[in-house]
């Protein structure tokens, strides 16, 4: 009796800690977008809707090599992407890009455009529970000229084993002049340690 319950307990621990796998990238994207699964965080402040979504390595690999890659390319591409943690940060005001809401104010429009294009590494921070700041590796803001319903920025941080074992990390966005105050997302690192994977054919 004790043995069987111990086995069941061990099995459940193993199942929980195992990486979830998907056949299709769309399925994985849907899984990632569900806040209940711990990879997507949302918050609303001062009329701005913030969404922070983790981008698993395999989703980026698939984006580059497709579903039926040549042999050897999967591991090679995985190695390239797994060095970093990628996050998509979306910010929307009235279901529109941030810049769309500032179109009437030339000065603020210019200020925000320059901030989004060149200054986000000074506005977004990632730090551990003991306030160790992790320097951002890079960010990319593709300007969509109003055709998107949110301003989305791809942010990359080095995947350092030193802090991958932390319980959580705080991802903060400074006030971008929209009176939202600083926005904080607490990232559950156990989810990132067991990030979902794709079964490539």
């Amino acid at each position: 009796m004790i043995k069987s319950s111990l086995f069941l307990c061990l099995l459940s621990v193993l199942l929980v800690s195992c990486n979830k796998t998907f056949d299709k990238p769309q399925e994985m994207a849907e899984f990632i977008a569900d806040p209940d699964n711990g990879y997507c965080y949302t918050k609303k402040a001062g009329g701005v809707d913030y969404t922070l979504q983790y981008r698993p390595t395999d989703l980026l690999v698939e984006q580059e090599i497709g579903q039926n890659p040549k042999p050897g390319t999967i591991e090679q591409t995985r190695k390239k992407y797994e060095k970093y943690l990628y996050f998509n940060l979306s910010m929307a005001m009235n279901k529109k890009e941030l810049l769309n809401n500032l179109a009437a104010d030339k000065e603020r429009f210019g200020q925000m455009l320059s901030e989004l294009s060149f200054g986000m590494d000074q506005k977004i921070h990632l730090y551990t529970a003991t306030k160790d700041t992790i320097a951002m590796s890079d960010f990319s803001y593709p300007r969509m000229f109003g055709i998107s319903d949110a301003t989305t920025i791809l942010v990359a941080y080095p995947r350092d084993e030193k802090y991958m074992n932390e319980k959580y990390m705080d991802f903060t966005i400074e006030d971008l002049g929209l009176y939202t105050g600083e926005i904080k997302f607490r990232i559950d690192m156990s989810k990132l340690r067991t990030e979902p994977q794709l079964r490539f054919k």
Binding site: G181, E182, R186
Partner: protein, 148 residues
Amino acid sequence: MYVDVNKLIEGYSRTKIAKAEYQKKTAVMKSNVDTLIANWQKELKNYEKERTSFSAGELKLKQELLGNKQQQITSYQEAVQKQMQEEDKKMTQTLINDINDYVKQYGKSKGYKIIFGASGGGNIMYGEESSDLTKDVLEGLNAEYDKK
């Protein structure tokens, strides 16, 4: 269960740090304005002292110059005041965000179904002492912020 939001803002470690930063910034801005005003007053005094020696043309030009300068200082003063108000707004909102986040996290971990925020506006007129979570929340909030 409830928390006193004003007490939380007041007792939060980050408030003291943010306020000190804000005061430092505003002191610099204020001293810039004060210097501009002092220079202008000096020019005005000189003008009053020497006005009898000016020709009518010079007098008009000097008056226009002083008037323009005064206008510029007023606009600058207004801009600085606006910036100070904006900074204050941002700072307060950041503190409120932190408190909201922590209360949410605290409520979840302790299994509370609801935590009210009393802010002196009359939304909680009376609460038994045992229902007041302010002290416990404040300790946790500061412990998390001061963690190093």
